[in-house]
């Protein structure tokens, strides 16, 4: 098989998967690319050292400031209220899809800051719900007209990373059915009527991403990295692609060598190439960085 991918795609794949033995990467369908709406997909990375206290707990006021800065930069609006009005309407029914994994949650601080701004738009509190495992049974999610997707990124034993794309796995009745081939087809979930076209914002929580998995429950505090970041974007693939670059870079930094995620997080590239959910091509992503910029890795 001859190489068919563009240089930029090859660079992304290499970044996502560390060293490769040559030009041939057998990622199905990678020769096609998903066009980004309006040119490049914008991803906003906001970092603030004050977001974690001395015990590593998120500080609500700082989280709110970070989200506000991020949504303003994402929408080019002057204040958070007007920014939120561009993505949520008062009559929307809003599901905030979080992640409740006990060792690394979306965090109540992020959920509450999101909820506060959505209420300010005029959405009734009874029309907002935060849920993870129960989304299919949750009346608000069943009627939702808008979804906010918010979760931390972490290494994952089978999908490479737990990503924004993967966070919708609970919208299918049998999540295990999407597991073959290391969850390659996770993006297919985004075409289901329950979620299709409803996602207004993706928030990748990168306060303390987990970069390596160890043991049956995958978590060990030794392998989380204080990154102090939040990433926001409308394109989940673009945000995941940037998050993945950060995880890979942290692994290089920590292990002092190339150490590919095992298995590779190929579902992100496939979300672009096969499902056209967004773009994973760094040349089609506009990264806007706000705040602390040391060791940002991107």
């Amino acid at each position: 098989m001859k190489p068919r991918e563009s240089i930029s795609r090859r660079q992304f794949i290499k970044s996502a998967s560390a060293a490769a033995i040559g030009t041939t990467l057998l990622l199905s369908g990678q020769e096609t690319t998903a066009p980004a709406k309006g040119g490049k997909s914008r991803v906003v990375l906001v970092r603030d050292l004050k977001v974690l206290d001395e015990n590593g707990r998120p500080q609500y006021a700082v989280v709110e400031e970070m989200l506000d800065s991020g949504i303003k930069a994402l929408t080019d609006m002057p204040d958070p209220q007007s920014a939120w009005k561009t993505i949520i309407k008062p009559d929307d029914i809003v599901g905030i899809k979080n992640n409740r994994w006990p060792y690394l949650r979306t965090t109540a601080e992020v959920e509450n800051a999101l909820k506060k701004r959505i209420i300010e738009v005029g959405v009734k509190e009874t029309n907002i719900s935060v849920d993870d495992l129960g989304v299919l049974q949750n009346p608000v999610f069943q009627k939702a007209t808008a979804l906010i997707n918010a979760r931390p990124m972490r290494s994952h034993h089978w999908a490479g990373v737990g990503s924004l794309i993967k966070n919708y796995i609970m919208f299918i009745p049998e999540p295990i059915s999407i597991h073959p081939d290391s969850c390659a087809d996770l993006a297919s979930i985004w075409n289901l009527p329950v979620v299709k076209g409803k996602t207004r914002l993706n928030v990748l929580v990168m306060f303390t991403p987990q970069f390596h998995s160890f043991g049956p429950h995958s978590f060990n505090p030794k392998y989380v990295w204080k990154y102090y970041g939040l990433m926001l974007g409308f394109d989940p693939v673009a945000v995941d692609a940037i998050g993945l670059r950060v995880i890979e870079a942290i692994r290089r930094e920590y292990f002092a060598e190339e150490r590919p995620l095992n298995p590779p997080a190929k579902h992100i590239a496939i979300a672009d190439s096969k499902y056209h959910l967004g773009t994973a091509d760094p040349e089609k992503i506009e990264l806007v960085k706000i705040g602390y910029d040391k060791e940002s890795f991107v």
Partner: protein, 274 residues
């Protein structure tokens, strides 16, 4: 030695240093393991997971120490799942163990054990170690290592990096090879992977044993065609100037990745005793 996974519950003390054993353990099978391990079940299933016992110790403040005992398909499978993410060599528990920041894992016989106490304290660590010793002592006999890992040449091998698997997903453990099953690795093809370091260069050796020579030859041909541009001598440099080399001898396929030069590839391939 416990005859089945349930007997580990009886083996463990009712209380230890103020921690009390919770009343009822949970048992998991391949069908419901994913309800317990969020996202990790496939790793175990890929090593022929049979069943698991999960139980807790609680202190007066309801802090938890979680004990998980996994019965795998064989001792090599227990080694494989243990070694999957091993970073160091430590033989304090069972046939190999690792402790980091509140989590002890080890393997013995066909069992893989995890004892988890987050956040870590010295007191909890002491309890974790005592429980580990009790469980390791209760498993009477040791198990055999996967024979194929014995074929990895010892010179310059970093022993803590030795991996064993029979699912293609784990092919990329140290070095990205492919997203596809380019060597037709499956349940009947035990594979070993090790990292080598020589003169500042790091390279990797993969061994795959097939049920017969024709299957080995077919896998080798496929790899040569798809990843070595059909190189007849089985050797090819990468864009970065590193070398990949493959050799098929009988039912064994050996592949070297990321070697600094062609002589290094040949030297390590020559050392493999089939």
């Amino acid at each position: 030695m416990p005859e089945n996974i349930n007997e580990f519950y009886k083996l463990l003390p009712d209380s230890i240093a103020g921690w009390k054993k919770a009343d009822s353990p949970a048992i998991y099978t391949p069908e419901n393991l994913s309800t317990y391990i969020d996202g990790g079940a496939e790793l175990y299933i890929s090593y022929n997971f049979k069943n698991a016992l999960s139980m807790k110790y609680l202190d007066s403040a309801d802090n938890e120490i979680n004990v998980d005992i996994f019965e795998m398909g064989s001792a090599p499978d227990a080694f494989g799942v243990f070694a999957h993410s091993r970073e160091t060599l430590d033989d304090r528990f069972g046939q190999g163990s690792e402790y980091a920041a509140g989590l002890l894992t080890f393997w013995k016989g066909r069992y893989y054990i995890s004892i988890l106490a987050y956040p870590e304290t010295e007191e909890k660590k002491d309890v974790v170690f005592k429980l580990g010793q009790t469980i390791a002592g209760g498993i009477g006999s040791e198990g055999a290592l996967p024979p194929i890992i014995g074929l990895l040449p010892a010179d310059n091998l970093l022993p803590e990096t030795v991996r064993y698997f029979h699912h293609y997903i784990w092919l990329n453990s140290f070095y990205f090879v492919s997203n596809e099953n380019v060597l037709n690795i499956g349940n009947d093809t035990p594979a070993a992977l090790g990292k080598y370091r020589k003169g500042g260069a790091t390279f990797f050796l993969l061994l795959v044993r097939y049920p017969d020579a024709p299957r080995a030859e077919a896998a080798a041909r496929q790899f040569q065609k798809r990843l070595l541009d059909g190189a007849e001598d089985g050797m090819r440099p990468t864009k970065e100037g590193r070398w990949t080399g493959l050799r098929c001898r009988g039912d064994l396929v050996s592949v070297v990745f990321n070697a600094p030069d062609a002589p290094t590839v040949r030297a390590i391939l020559d050392k493999i005793k089939t």
